[in-house]
């Protein structure tokens, strides 16, 4: 068996209560590795095309990766993959809670849930014993109380009332970490599945123990020494981006009307650290610990992340950080994605202002927001419609030009008219308006330490291809996406800041080399038979010593490309087309700043080139040759014959 894997997948059908355990074929693990990549392949193989996401036929998949639970830093992630009720696309929601570690301890690399229970239940995985337990007492409870009532010392995923009530952007919670996007919580709710609990005593077997330990130690040191991951992120949390985005016109303000907010500093990571931070918290085994524990009404609770601050702050013209802390807390208890929530509120406020919707919600007014959040989670009154998200509201009431979503997924907290490559990323991300799935080009355009011209479309398709490929690969290795920040090592940052000539060269390579990079990325893996430099991509070295498999830079890039293409063929099978790779008119037609003629996203100048670099047709369809090179089999087939099938025991 390859190191890092437990060798088994658990499949539970809530209709028949049948439990299957089987090994995944070796070649599947080699091609798709884990987390996001493995989830994408499994969903493609297991989900009947055109399935209603909230029907019992939808498949809910939790995947881990070889590094999950191995002791590698920042790598205890698990991934939820399913068909999104918000977008109808594939959705993969990554989470740093401890469920993945415990699922592996129980002996499984992945969990697949199909069917629908006839009453509220929770799934109890205790090593080999799998039972479906009654959840009548848990139904209706918030995510915190639910976790408290479930057996201690176990890994848990739970939903809150929002998931039970099928809010289209309901989240799943594990500890205080969130798998937020795309309505994965509603899929659990539609299956009457309140929670999953896992425990066991198995250990992750690592192929080269000594070397693995040594490399992980070095990786930890590297993360601590890097100025971004070792200092700024632990010190100020992800909300440290508020001021930087504000300074670079990329902070969404007033429902993405503007890119700057005059009171940004009041809601920044610096202010959060200065006024409210009790201590840092983070995902298990992470030396960065970017999470915040803050004081709220005498309680110590999790503080908001950058995305939440941006969308429940400047995007609704709210400069009250304590109110954001409260909204975030409430959203997590109820199980709501704060990105979609903040966008929905922003849209309703603007639609209200324009007379399209009758509402008491208004920009800059925090009264009524807590009530609106509860109304959404419980689908009360107009909350029932807000629970459907921005796309639904705009199609019903008008205002599609300022409905800030892509493919139905509300856009993350980066205003792309200040970083146009990020706009391309939003348009092509498989789950919709996602900053990470779209390659996060903004880091090399506006909010990172080395930036190219943020407003030119030149070179951006290549840049997006490079970033997206790397991030999809790192995510499939099971690592936190923030580990990618080490891709720009301190030495490079110093050189960039010291020498204008070197800086020009570095930036030129990113920007004008974008086309070259894009082209190079369409080459097969064997053309890059080298190990990536440790200081830039330590994750790959840990993966090699964990699995015992050879893994080159070429294979890493190929993995990333494979995941992007897998997602793409899933979405195409579900009926999406190139027409869905678009942005709201506000972002492509309205100038963000009247004095800056380039402050809108020239999507039409970037999209064809992106397709080209990806080896897709002009209609955005992967060519047969592309799939062949990436060894993607477009045939749908069940991943393995069941090796054991039994009935789950049922609780009282």
């Amino acid at each position: 068996m390859i190191g890092g894997y437990m060798g088994k997948v658990l499949e539970v059908d809530l209709n028949s209560k049948q439990v299957k355990k089987y090994a995944l074929p070796h070649h599947m693990l080699e091609l798709y590795v884990g987390n996001k990549g493995l989830g994408a392949r499994l969903l493609y193989d297991l989900l009947p095309p055109a399935t209603d996401p909230l029907s019992e036929k939808n498949v809910f998949i939790v995947t881990t990766a070889p590094l999950t639970g191995s002791g590698a830093p920042s790598s205890n992630r698990f991934n939820i993959t399913t068909k999104s009720p918000l977008t109808g696309t594939i959705v993969n929601s990554n989470c740093g809670g401890d469920f993945g570690i415990h699922l592996k301890k129980a002996g499984y690399d992945a969990l697949i849930i199909t069917g629908k229970a006839d009453r509220p239940v929770y799934l109890n995985i205790d090593g080999e014993n799998v039972s479906i337990e009654d959840a009548a007492e848990l139904w209706g409870l918030d995510t915190q109380k639910t976790q408290e009532k479930l057996p201690p010392k176990t890994g848990k995923i739970v939903i809150g009332p929002a998931g039970e009530n099928l809010v289209k952007y309901a989240s799943v919670i594990s500890e205080e970490r969130v798998a937020g996007r795309g309505g994965v919580g509603a899929v659990m709710g539609s299956k009457n599945l309140k929670a999953v609990v896992a425990r066991g005593d198995q250990k992750v077997r690592v192929a080269h123990e000594e070397k693995f330990k040594e490399i992980c130690k070095k990786w930890r040191e590297l993360a601590r020494q890097h100025p971004a991951t070792g200092e700024e992120l632990p010190r100020y949390g992800t909300a440290v981006f508020v001021n930087k985005c504000n300074a670079t016109f990329t902070l969404p303000t007033r429902n993405y009307r503007y890119g700057t907010f005059s009171e940004a500093d009041a809601v920044s990571g610096e202010t959060l650290a200065e006024k409210y931070l009790v201590k840092n918290i983070g995902c298990r085994g992470c030396p960065i610990a970017c999470g915040r524990l803050v004081e709220f009404k005498g309680k110590k609770i999790k503080g908001p992340e950058y995305e939440t601050v941006g969308l429940l702050g400047p995007n609704i013209m709210n400069a009250d950080l304590m109110a954001i802390i409260e909204f975030n807390y409430l959203a997590d208890l109820l199980g709501l994605d704060t990105i979609s929530l903040g966008n929905t509120l922003g849209f309703v406020m603007e639609a209200g202002e324009k007379g399209l919707i009758k509402t008491n919600l208004a920009f800059g007014k925090i009264d009524g927001i807590s009530q609106a959040i509860e109304d959404i989670a419980y689908r009360r009154g107009f909350g029932d419609e807000m629970a459907e998200g921005v796309r639904y509201l705009s199609q019903k009431y008008g205002g599609e030009e300022f409905a800030i979503h892509v493919k139905g997924l509300e856009i993350a907290s980066y205003e792309p008219r200040g970083a146009v490559g990020q706009g391309l990323g939003y348009a092509i991300a498989s789950r919709g308006g996602c900053h990470i799935g779209g390659g996060y080009a903004i880091y090399l355009e506006a909010n990172g330490p080395i930036t190219v011209d943020p407003l030119t479309p030149l070179g951006k398709p290549g840049l997006v291809v490079l970033n997206q490929t790397t991030m999809e690969a790192v995510s499939s290795l099971g690592c936190c996406i923030f580990t990618v920040y080490m891709f720009l090592p301190r030495q490079l940052l110093e050189l960039n800041a010291r020498s204008p000539f070197a800086s020009k060269l570095i930036r030129g390579t990113f920007l004008y080399g974008g086309n070259l990079i894009g082209r190079a990325l369409s080459l097969p893996a064997w053309t890059l038979p080298v190990k990536p430099p440790f200081i830039m991509l330590p994750q790959v070295w840990a993966h090699v010593y964990c699995t015992g498999q050879r893994f080159t830079l070429g294979r890493l890039m190929e993995l990333g490309k494979r995941v992007v293409n897998m997602d793409r063929i899933f979405n195409l099978r579900e009926g999406l087309t190139a027409r869905d790779d678009t942005l709201p008119a506000r972002l492509t037609e309205e100038l963000q700043r009247s004095e800056e003629p380039n402050s809108r996203v020239p999507l039409d100048k970037m999209l064809p080139k992106y397709y080209h670099f990806r080896g897709w047709s002009r209609d955005g369809v992967p060519k047969a040759k592309t799939l062949r090179t990436l060894r993607i089999d477009p045939q749908q087939s069940h991943p393995a014959a069941a090796v054991s099938s039994e009935s789950a025991t049922t609780g009282s």
Partner: protein
């Protein structure tokens, strides 16, 4: 006057959020800041990003970028988050 805004650990190292200066170039401004805030601040400047009115000086004239009355200069350390 030019307003200089300091962020994250640049702010912590300086002990204040902002200062005003009549420096006529970024170079002069940075010399003033180093003198004003000392060694730790100067060390952090080695990897800092400097923006003039939201534009990275790497896209302007680097440290020779001229400053005018009313300009806003922002100084950031390398950040991560998202």
């Amino acid at each position: 006057m030019v307003e200089v805004r300091l962020y994250a650990s640049m702010r912590a190292a300086a002990g204040e959020k902002r200062f005003f200066t009549d420096a006529s170039s970024v170079k002069e401004l940075l010399q003033q800041a180093e003198g004003r805030y000392g060694k730790e601040f100067a060390a952090r400047l080695k990897v800092a990003t400097i923006l003039v009115n939201g534009k990275n000086i790497a896209h302007l004239k680097w440290r020779r970028t001229r400053l005018q009355d009313g300009d806003v200069v922002s100084i950031f350390p390398p950040l991560a988050g998202g």
